[in-house]
């Protein structure tokens, strides 16, 4: 736990850029609904990672500051 995990940031930025590009392609191909669904899927996937990270943060604060 004592090192910066940059991998997570790059992973999520990769997901973001991928979804950005695919949404543009789908918009160009006149498939607005699918682009919307793709965005929603991306947001949900990133949200799963964020929930894990928030859990990490809360556990860290709990163990350091003795909050139960």
């Amino acid at each position: 736990m004592d090192l910066l995990n940059v991998d997570m940031l790059f992973k999520l930025a990769g997901i973001g850029i991928l979804i950005m590009v695919f949404t543009q392609v789908l918009n160009q191909a006149e498939k607005k609904e699918q682009a919307q669904l793709l965005t929603l899927a991306g947001v949900v996937i990133v949200m799963i990672f964020i929930v894990k990270l928030i859990g990490d943060l809360i556990n860290t604060v709990r163990s350091i500051f003795n909050i139960y």
Binding site: M20, T23, V46, M47, L57, T60, F65, N66, I67
Partner: protein, 128 residues
Amino acid sequence: MSIMQIVALAVVAVVLIVIIRQERPELAMQLSMVAGLIIIVFVLWKLAGVIKVLERLALRAELNMVFLSALLKIIGIAYIAEFGTQVCRDAGENALAFKVELAGKVMILVLAVPIISTIVNTVERLLP
């Protein structure tokens, strides 16, 4: 030299966020949240050592441990509440941010009540 790592991470994160923000603002918001979380968890682990030293000092000075633990709890609550507030404010939800801030203040007040009552008791005993 962790500060270099943190600054580098923040700069890389900012570049990526600015790229993504033009097209997908919601993903950019999540990305900035992730960067903030990574940095804050890292910094808190560094802080753990300092807190341990403080606890040892308090033990050596034979302070009442109730007060130190209340103080540490207040600091923890302040960090968590501040984080939530900043996330809400970043997303443009000022009203929610204010409510999170208020909740943090109230929780801190609840923890501070025993300390205040101890002070009042001490003053009462000192006065004739």
